[in-house]
Symmetry: C2
Subunit: 201 residues, 2 copies
């Protein structure tokens, strides 16, 4: 909006809302208006929730998950099987696998994939900490739940090389994950099936 229709505070709110994934310039205006109309039911509670979350959000120093505590809820949950680590590219993949609820293991978030063309090497990812977790012992299986892309598979191979010689079995998700597909978009059934029929890497 070139000319100011509403006050600068509302204009700024719309501009920032437009940068939230899922919203664009037009839907940001609709969202802002809806928030203003539902001031007590939605706008104020959402603002409070954001203020609380923005202060408390931490990246887990063990697994790379985001949570409000470090180590995170999943790393400290005593009911989880600590002998299995599911390695994912991104927190969104972790959330997708947790929604599928197929395994009660621990996780490790890489924060991306190896991509020499983009200048992303092993040191840019959370790989050293993963190798450390395996070296500390007690881990019998690494499930490489990376995306079925070239970068994902390259990263899987690199990790396999890094833990070669250690007492750990490395597996990967079963085929069933569509080639080129992203975990976050898959249905829970497919994700469960892919986990159950995981194969040796």
């Amino acid at each position: 909006m070139s000319k100011s229709i509403a006050g600068p505070e509302i204009e700024r709110l719309i501009q920032l809302l437009a940068r939230v994934p899922g919203l664009g310039p037009r839907s940001a205006r609709r969202a802002a208006l809806h928030l203003i109309k539902k001031k007590d039911q939605l706008f104020a509670p959402l603002t409070a929730a954001m203020a609380e979350a923005v202060d408390k959000v931490r990246v887990c120093s063990t697994c790379g998950n985001v949570d409000t505590s470090d180590p995170c809820t999943l790393c400290t949950d005593p009911r989880r099987d600590g002998t299995t680590i599911i390695v994912v590219e991104d927190v969104s993949d972790l959330w997708a696998l947790e929604r599928a609820g197929a395994m009660n293991a621990r996780y490790h978030v890489l924060g991306g994939t190896l991509s020499p063309l983009d200048g992303i090497g092993p040191d840019d990812l959370n790989i050293k900490r993963l190798v450390g977790r395996v070296a500390e012992g007690g881990v019998s299986e690494l499930i490489l739940a990376v995306n079925a892309t070239v970068e994902g598979q390259t990263t899987a191979h690199y990790i396999t090389d890094q833990v070669a010689g250690m007492e750990v079995k490395v597996t990967r998700l079963a085929h069933g994950v569509p080639v080129g597909g992203e975990l976050d978009y898959l249905d829970e059934g497919t994700l469960s099936a892919a986990l159950k029929s995981r194969t040796s890497f």
Copy 2:
């Protein structure tokens, strides 16, 4: 999410984000994760913008627009033609007309349309204040920019009756083919209206 993956603050953030128009349960998770990742660039500024807006938002007691001042920016702008009032159903319609930038007039937001079936009568809308603005004088034209629905037209007729006898011209938006629109996709009502009010070329 039935079980808690992230901390309760993040879960609550996701739940509230899912109620923002344009986002759903899945995109709310993606949005939350994006906010967390872009903590300094987006999450913190957006939270601050929301906190500022939620406190400052006002409904203009003159025209019903939302703004951070009352009377609003449009009602106090001395460069606007106060003799013409564009009557709209909703603030979103006001914003749409302002983006079009076709007129430099003042506005009046009704807050809905008459709908006896839904129990919405004249007293539930911002009509009395509109009649008052006309009665105060200085207004020569009311443009009824209500939607071309049964409720919109009923509301337009009601307002016309209310200001009958006052020194004010009541007009409505022209019906016709949208600019860039294809005839094939238009409804019969629009086509009939466009034919009836055809203009010389």
